[in-house]
């Protein structure tokens, strides 16, 4: 465990020094993500000009829900996004060899080695928006609800990564996974809406087959309605099962990896 922590600290140092070399891109990416935050907030603000409730949530609640999603997106952009971008390239070029032979988990190395320092600033901004939306909330939010919410946000970011990996790994068998990744990003829009707007069958699918609602919608529900042990167990259980499934899928893919251009 210590070895992995030390390794991750090295990744951080290297990523920070490298991102400061490309100063213009550093700022472009920060502005881009801020623009995304503004667009998301404006979208829901305009919708609430025409309705008081959406999926059972009022405007103050939806602001917390959206801000929570922005934090998850920022964690993803900071910790995983660059690595997800490089993974298919490494597989196709046969460069994965260098990572497979190292004495650490290849999944750990390839998922975490590139930390986006510029997006880290966005993570601070997104966290600020979340704090603001929680502080301006007129109702009372219990501390225990808040603690569960913050914990499940981190779980949501991890689940987001696991789901994306299911769409990335097929690149070991196919020439390109561009279509699958595009499909994943289309499907992530399902996470960005409150769970209760979906019909019961859609909700069941989005809580099991493609557990998009477990990323932020259910954590928000736990924040507003209190920690339901069954719901929390479900969220954590599905995340754990998804992770085990993804790791098995990764190991299977590695066994099929034929080196020098798959």
């Amino acid at each position: 465990m210590n070895r992995y922590l030390r390794l991750y600290l090295q990744f951080l140092k290297f990523s920070f020094s490298r991102s400061l070399e490309y100063r213009m891109d550093f700022w472009f990416r920060i502005v881009m993500d801020c623009m995304f935050y503004v667009v998301e907030l404006i979208f829901f603000t305009i919708l609430y000009q025409h309705t008081d409730m959406l999926g059972g949530w009022n405007y103050d609640q939806i602001l917390i829900f959206v801000s929570g999603f922005l934090v998850i997106d920022a964690i993803h952009m900071t910790v995983f996004s660059n690595n997800m971008w490089w993974m298919p390239i490494l597989v196709n070029k046969g460069d994965l060899d260098y990572y497979v032979v190292r004495p650490v988990s290849s999944l750990f190395f390839l998922s975490l080695r590139d930390f986006a320092a510029n997006s880290f600033l966005n993570l601070l901004i997104a966290s600020g928006i979340l704090c603001w939306s929680i502080l301006r909330y007129p109702g009372e939010l219990e501390t225990i609800n808040l603690i569960w919410f913050l914990f499940l946000i981190i779980n949501g970011a991890f689940l987001h990564y696991i789901l994306q990996m299911f769409f990335q790994i097929p690149v070991f068998w196919t020439h390109t996974n561009r279509g699958l990744v595009t499909a994943f990003f289309s499907a992530t829009k399902l996470m960005e809406r409150p769970d209760m707007i979906y019909s019961i069958w859609t909700r069941r699918i989005l809580m099991t087959v493609f557990p998009a609602l477990l990323v932020i919608a259910l954590p928000s529900r736990i924040l507003f309605e209190g920690p339901d042990p069954l719901l929390i167990s479900w969220v954590l259980g599905v995340t754990a099962c998804s992770f085990l499934g993804m790791r098995a899928f990764w190991n299977l893919a590695l066994r099929h990896y034929s080196s020098a251009s798959s």
Partner: protein, 270 residues
């Protein structure tokens, strides 16, 4: 540029894209299903919870038709990911090859861009055939063969406008090491202010007035309203002219950026 050369480049680009068939179908099916699920769920919830029959001048079926149509036309207007190739040409030094051609670089890229939208056009047509019959009859939208015919030139000029808007951020690649973020930013802004995320009639009145004086609405809202039969012939003709005028203006603005950048270009890549 001769029309035969233009169409040759269009066909080459379209064939290249069609070769990735599995990707092509996966992207299409998932995008369509997700979009329909979200559109249906979101607007049904809003109409049910607000208790209103009309929102921003649309009934439920009308706004669903708008959502489907803006999704289909928007795919063509944005025309895939070709926008990044301008920056890639600059970074890789591949631009040198184009500078030797006896044709202006943006014209070649535009021909490739048009080739790039042919698969999107095909996909949108297929999706439309599946999705539109699922929608109910609306009192606020009236799709007719005439409105669909009028929509074709509206989409083409909107595509030209989007291409020209994308050029200047791509030319920044002469100075910056990575301009992907700029293209994504342009996409966010145009999607929101162009009506791709929501009909512009849902925006507050004062913002609608401001948006009227900007080019964004011609990208997504205008072609969609034309397809839905909400635009009469005179307004349609005016809209096409305004869109072309904006294209001309934005195209002219990109020329000095290109000239400046061209002077910095070393031809060896970055």
């Amino acid at each position: 540029m001769s029309p035969s050369l233009f169409f040759h480049l269009v066909l080459v680009e379209a064939k290249k894209l069609m070769s990735y068939r599995v990707d092509f179908w996966i992207t299409m099916v998932v995008a369509l299903v997700v979009n329909l699920v979200i559109l249906w769920a979101l607007w049904e919830a809003i109409f049910a919870e607000s208790g209103k029959e009309l929102i921003g001048g649309w009934d439920l079926n009308g706004i669903l038709a708008y959502g489907v149509m803006v999704f289909l036309t928007g795919r063509i207007v944005r025309g895939g990911d070709l926008q990044m190739t301008v920056a890639t040409d600059i970074y890789d030094g591949a631009l040198s090859r184009y500078l030797l051609y006896p044709r202006h670089y943006p014209f070649i890229k535009y021909a490739q861009q048009v080739g790039n939208i042919l698969p999107d056009l095909f996909q949108s047509l297929m999706m439309g055939l599946v999705a539109i019959p699922l929608l109910g009859i609306s009192t606020t939208a009236d799709v007719t063969p005439m409105s669909l015919l009028m929509a074709i030139p509206s989409i083409l000029v909107a595509h030209l406008l989007f291409f020209l808007m994308s050029l200047t951020p791509q030319y920044i690649a002469f100075w910056a090491d990575n301009v992907w973020s700029l293209s994504v930013m342009l996409r966010f802004v145009t999607m929101l202010l162009g009506g791709a995320m929501l009909p512009l009639t849902l925006f507050p009145e004062s913002i609608q007035v401001g948006l009227h004086w900007l080019p964004f609405s011609y990208l997504f809202e205008f072609p969609t309203l034309v397809a839905l039969g909400k635009i009469d012939l005179i307004t349609w003709f005016e809209g096409i002219c305004y869109c072309l005028l904006w294209s001309l203006l934005i195209g002219l603005l990109s020329i000095p950026v290109w000239r400046r950048g061209d002077l910095r270009y070393t031809g060896v890549g970055i």
